[in-house]
Assembly symmetry: C2
Homo-oligomer: 668 residues x 2
Amino acid sequence: MDRSTEEAQTKEMDIRSLSSSHHHSQSERYIHKVGVPPKQNLFKEFRETLKETFFADDPLRPFKDRSRSQKFILGIQTIFPIFEWGRKYNLKKLRGDLIAGLTIASLCIPQDIGYAKLANLDPQYGLYSSFVPPLIYAFMGSSRDIAIGPVAVVSLLLGTMLQNELDPINEKAQYQRLAFTATFFAGITQVTLGFFRLGFLIDFLSHAAIVGFMGGAAVTIALQQLKGFLGIKKFTKKSDIISVMHSVVASAHHGWNWQTIAIGASFLSFLLFAKFIGKKNKKFFWVPAIAPLISVILSTFFVYITRADKQGVQIVKNIKKGINPSSVNEIYFSGDYLLKGFRIGVVAGMIGLTEAIAIGRTFAAMKDYQLDGNKEMVALGAMNVVGSMTSCYVATGSFSRSAVNFMAGCETAVSNIIMSCVVFLTLEFITPLFKYTPNAILASIIINAVIGLIDIGAATLLWKIDKFDFVACMGAFFGVVFSSVEIGLLIAVSISFAKILLQVTRPRTAILGKVPRTTVYRNIQQYPEATKVPGVLIVRVDSAIYFSNSNYVKERILRWLEDEEEEVKAATYQPRIQFLIVEMSPVTDIDTSGIHALEGLHRSLEKREVQKSGDVVAPQLILANPGPVVMDKLHASSFTSLIGEDNIFLTVADAVSSCAPKLVEEQP
Amino acid sequence: MDRSTEEAQTKEMDIRSLSSSHHHSQSERYIHKVGVPPKQNLFKEFRETLKETFFADDPLRPFKDRSRSQKFILGIQTIFPIFEWGRKYNLKKLRGDLIAGLTIASLCIPQDIGYAKLANLDPQYGLYSSFVPPLIYAFMGSSRDIAIGPVAVVSLLLGTMLQNELDPINEKAQYQRLAFTATFFAGITQVTLGFFRLGFLIDFLSHAAIVGFMGGAAVTIALQQLKGFLGIKKFTKKSDIISVMHSVVASAHHGWNWQTIAIGASFLSFLLFAKFIGKKNKKFFWVPAIAPLISVILSTFFVYITRADKQGVQIVKNIKKGINPSSVNEIYFSGDYLLKGFRIGVVAGMIGLTEAIAIGRTFAAMKDYQLDGNKEMVALGAMNVVGSMTSCYVATGSFSRSAVNFMAGCETAVSNIIMSCVVFLTLEFITPLFKYTPNAILASIIINAVIGLIDIGAATLLWKIDKFDFVACMGAFFGVVFSSVEIGLLIAVSISFAKILLQVTRPRTAILGKVPRTTVYRNIQQYPEATKVPGVLIVRVDSAIYFSNSNYVKERILRWLEDEEEEVKAATYQPRIQFLIVEMSPVTDIDTSGIHALEGLHRSLEKREVQKSGDVVAPQLILANPGPVVMDKLHASSFTSLIGEDNIFLTVADAVSSCAPKLVEEQP
């Protein structure tokens, strides 16, 4: 008895709370039907999906409505953008490019020699890789700011992976051949990805994973430099921090060379100070840029005069004079090493791409020009293929040198040509002078260069914004530092994928309530002032409903319903749930499993019994605002007729206001 | 001159079209701030994510607030549900279970003998697998309708994969040992997935892929039966359609046995007729259920009387009498075959799970009870582990027998116990009677059984609803039929994953317009009557913005903007775009890459110049309705202060009405 009076009261409350909106809907709002988009031609639909996936940027647009000769010229310009921007080239631009080219050349020469060592190759190979690839890139690439050449992370990665297959000292010839083979396949991978417009694949390495991976690689590289920096002769071949520290500590008593340390430490301080000056005042960007070359010159001169190499200070000794010899015949095109080279090349090529594209995009955004990622990949790939035939190893865009290039005022890829020319002159005439350059200086230069890759600010931001991203970042970082670059990379990729899979398996759902004084329904967790409508449960599903989440979505909605009904039972003044409104706005797509789940939901609801004016009825499933694709599929599967066309509304507000009179009926 | 007058006209139009909604907003609508959810405790947030991912169904809920002894009993009941439902068991239920159990036993005995052959095992192993596993399942499983035992697809898969490693005839002993090893690891896989609550992993095999895979496997199995059905002695070991048809045609002249064909064809017609009767009238479901056993009895008797085996009709010959011997010592726990068994076991275990869980869910939905997928996996796994030690091979839920079980009115898993008892009696007493059973009958029974797995209706529906799903289905089907079950499975899984990746890389975006006589903004493709607001571009992004799609989303929005501006230029009566409203309702989450993309978008807009009352201004980025998670992260990254808090609105309508006065200002 007590219960029934309460129920009556409840219903009165309902009427009060709902009648206004109900009234409103009749007088002012016109209830729209949910549109079913016009049936599309199957072929057209397919073509559009294909276009959106692979040709999202519509690369053929400029070719439209042109004559054949114009198309030919456009085609040449597309493959070799230099013929496009070259026509507008002038002396003013050359001035900028000349300064920038000379600056990055002075920076790249000492770095190249050091990076070649990271790849376990002779120093000249680093210089070779700064001669041919930048030339090719200048003709084919479309970034104006990128500086091409060997980079620290790819060198380390390549060195580590090649070392797993062959010994760089005892099997030197094969090791070099495998390096060229890997470079060849890195280029082929890059061209293939670009040509088949699969460039989006590199987007699967998340920003967070890259930050962690780069930071870890930087720490690993810096640790490796302790060998040259401390003058240790017996050093571990492993790259993890534990092995390295063990090597360092074990040789502390008799393996360190104080002269080496003195030279290394003083020049490292000089380099760091130069970097500090450059950061302090952007005008002095050239100070850190030329500091490495100055260090090399000073220290070489110093060693030559003092003959410190006789005191145990290790020196570069010999760099082969002359430009790149051909290496076409050295690439393994058959046999066991073909496959190994291929595997290493694919990984190195992908990482190279990731770095180059990130740089290209960053600077393109700064100067506001468009960069076609896929075209860029073809250019980078072509340059590595040519490089592999001219004794170069994998080259890509360098973060640090590109930044210097940008700040030095480069205008076009001509700065790369200038750099390439300087490297050519170096190879032809200056290399013998590097004989007395101490290894410690190269170590200092590399340490100084890779410090910039450790981006603590970015990691802090990740922590602040997204904890999961932070975990991915740290996973990659510690994977590289404590195990190896490959393991770190694997962790980075796995975590990135796990995140995507988690997103599609466990989409968010939310209970909506009415925001006061509006007809808007929003997540009651975000808007605590939003109120639930009595007798109606409004759930929003925040993802496409696919096979991977359809069961979860169904069960989650039923769980919301159960929770709600328990609450209703506890608070007896509320009516039981009679309408389940599913807000479908975020449900952009649905597949057959998803439709099965909705059917299952409908059937489960039918089995639930609700008292309504004496009769026993089940809660009604109502959909609000399904999108065009979803609506199309619901129609095709006749789900719409299963729940009734009337139960699909344009907005939640419409749906609620159409429930209202039915709730009112309940009044005895 | 002409241009400026047109512009003036345009602006007047704007005022007219917008002033009404603007007015409306001031008089009636109260502009709400977008809520920032209260900052959550990090640990709590993490725990909730974990819970939603792995314990979405809250399995520990009943344990709350119980005494220790109650918890113990509940724990036992959780692991062995028989102790829960067993207490309410009564004679009425037994009657249902008895009939169902006898029916499925009569169906399973001939099927088991045939399926064992698919796995290249002796016939008794099929019967063994219908004795122990159903008993274990009855104690631990929670489905009331599933019928446990060997099934066609898993038998074929196991047979194919084992055959790749060992020859089933010449290396019979090792082959059997490897089969038990694979079964053991199939069970371990299932228990592990269930225990670590990774059950959602099987959801990654999409419904479409399963339909195709099952259909393909059914065709392959049916083709394999041509050997027994036509009495061919020399038959290919490969399972692809081309090899099989080649074998069949090559032996057409002298390899076929007409007596065998006569027996097989007549009983196949009988079985198909029985199936037809069962389909026609649901009352006669028992006709197709007992038809196989009747066929076996009749044909065995016939062969025994006519001694047709002397005419070349192949017979079963010997089935070992007696129940399962122990096989604990036969499992490879070390050596080369451990790894092979493990690999095969993981695949067979996953497919077995997929089938059993699908069956369990289907019947649970029909009778409206809940099924805990993870608990179910533990039960299935335990039964296979025990099975592997008692000479069984991988058992799971059978589609056809479960349907019969359901229709025969089973009430609980006791029907499995009844079936198990009948199999026990068969093994102990009746097996010698199977000696004269012709292989052709077994072939007919298997063909008849697997025909049901070819679901043309489902494939047609896939075509109608989702073309991509249909491609996945056909890919799996043709992969199995033309290559092998493994390749088909690989294709099915790959296509399923590709779909997920496509979804997250290329999310949909849509241009919104105002639906007439409402304040609702919807996709103008779906609602052609919706009109764009002049000077404002409203874009909706239909997915979370993650690293995998952030670049695409940014570039897509800029492309919409360019397209729109071109249109504006063409039709000179429209004002240029001054506001870009991004509707964020479907954007459920964003990561650091996503925020970078939004920042990039903001920066690109700043670089675009728009004439506005003499000054040159850039289009303004406005966000509408970002969700709680997104809002939280936008705040954390101070993106909100970058674009200005005022430029984030609760709804598109609010955003538009706040743009309106600014557009009005433009009037000269």
